[in-house]
């Protein structure tokens, strides 16, 4: 009985992406996965797959950035009266915050992988995922830009405040932290795409 109602509503062309009873009953096992069921179900599965891939693509840079800065430790072979001859992420609170935030974001990406394949009817789950993605994007952006500010001061110094650019001595440390900041900004970009895609999918259902 529910089939006839849905078939009737398909004829009205109110929304092209209804995938309920008629769609599931029409799919058979010999139709390719992405092309199954009518009305745009294939497109939704494609978007779900892209969502999964993007989540993994956001997990990798955050984890790499956290590990890279966490293992940064450079000792100089020289020492003077004014400079300490060792640089680690501990010495800069911004980098500690960066590691923590990126670790949280990487953990969240892994935990949200199963939820990203939620069905189109579960709008509450999708909404929760969207809000968590937005919060994570804000967090990772904050961490990345705080670390970027530190890296900028370490590279250029500041004439007015008499802050010496330490990168002139600590080459390896500076390279590592710069690379980690870039990776983190990449993750921010991917998270932004994820948010817009989630909003698009919500519009379709």
């Amino acid at each position: 009985m529910s089939d006839t109602i849905f078939v009737g509503e398909h004829g009205k062309a109110a929304a092209s992406s209804y995938d309920h009873g008629a769609g599931h009953k029409a799919s058979s096992s010999d139709v390719p996965f992405l092309l199954r069921s009518g009305g745009g179900g294939g497109l939704r599965r494609c978007l779900g797959l892209i969502d999964l891939v993007l989540r993994v693509a956001a997990f990798a840079p955050t984890l790499a950035a956290a590990i890279s800065i966490g293992t940064s430790d450079e000792r100089l072979s020289i020492f003077t009266n004014y400079f300490q001859f060792r640089a680690r992420f501990d010495d800069f609170p911004a980098f500690s915050f960066f590691i923590v935030a990126n670790a949280i974001a990487a953990g969240y990406m892994v935990l949200s992988l199963p939820f990203s394949a939620a069905s189109s009817k579960a709008t509450a789950v999708k909404l929760l995922l969207l809000i968590c993605d937005t919060v994570m994007m804000g967090l990772v952006t904050a961490a990345a830009s705080a670390a970027a500010a530190m890296v900028y001061v370490a590279h250029e110094g500041n004439l007015r405040a008499n802050w010496v650019p330490i990168c002139l001595q600590f080459h390896g440390f500076c390279q590592r932290t710069s690379g980690a900041v870039i990776a983190s900004f990449l993750a921010v970009f991917v998270l932004m795409i994820l948010i817009v895609m989630a909003a698009c999918t919500m519009r379709r259902s």
Binding site: M137, A144, A149
Partner: protein, 184 residues
């Protein structure tokens, strides 16, 4: 058009329309709050200027926001976000009147996300520099300049509050737009 799609919901139609209108009105109010926050932050940071009555050989005796490039980026980012929010205010007012808008809400979510990233970047970079100015860094031999420039430091610390509040408000705005999209 409208009656045939809602044949199962005629008893709930006024309530759901009321909720949609409430969501849109909350959207407008939150945009106002974010406009005020970013504008106040940009102005507070942009008008910093402190000249010390004494001078030494090592430290300059004048501090402005433009001496630290990160604070310049903060002012610019907050100005851009403020301008965007002012420009998007008419669009969200239109959403109050016409709740059936689909694509404009999506565009609004996209730009809100971009502006969230921008304001988060500006606010947290400035926060890192303000922390550095307050505490200094023993390892890198960076002096805490707040010990001399206390009114400058107070100003730059206080102007961060409006920016962080605008960041939270932008997250709420994205959430509200998503709710409005999901309720269709």
């Amino acid at each position: 058009m409208e009656g045939s799609a809602e044949h199962g919901e005629t008893s709930k139609a006024p309530l759901s329309k009321g909720i949609s209108k409430g969501v849109s009105i909350l959207d407008v109010i939150l945009r106002f709050v974010a406009i005020i926050g970013t504008l106040a932050s940009a102005i507070a940071m942009g008008t910093t200027n402190q000249t010390l009555p004494f001078f030494t050989q090592f430290i300059r005796f004048k501090a402005q926001y433009s001496d630290l490039p990160t604070l310049t980026f903060f002012v610019v980012a907050n100005s851009i976000v403020c301008a965007y929010l002012i420009l998007s205010l008419p669009l969200s007012i239109v959403h109050v009147i016409r709740s059936r808008a689909k694509y404009s809400r999506l565009i609004l979510i996209f730009f809100d996300a971009v502006m969230l990233a921008l304001v988060a970047a500006g606010a947290s970079a400035a926060a890192a520099i303000v922390y550095l100015a307050h505490k200094g860094n023993a390892r890198a031999n960076w002096l805490a300049i707040c010990q001399q420039f206390d009114s400058f430091c107070e100003r730059i610390s206080g102007s961060l509050i409006g920016s962080f509040a605008a960041m939270v408000v932008l997250v709420l705005l994205i959430f509200l737009s998503a709710i409005a999209l999901a309720r269709r």
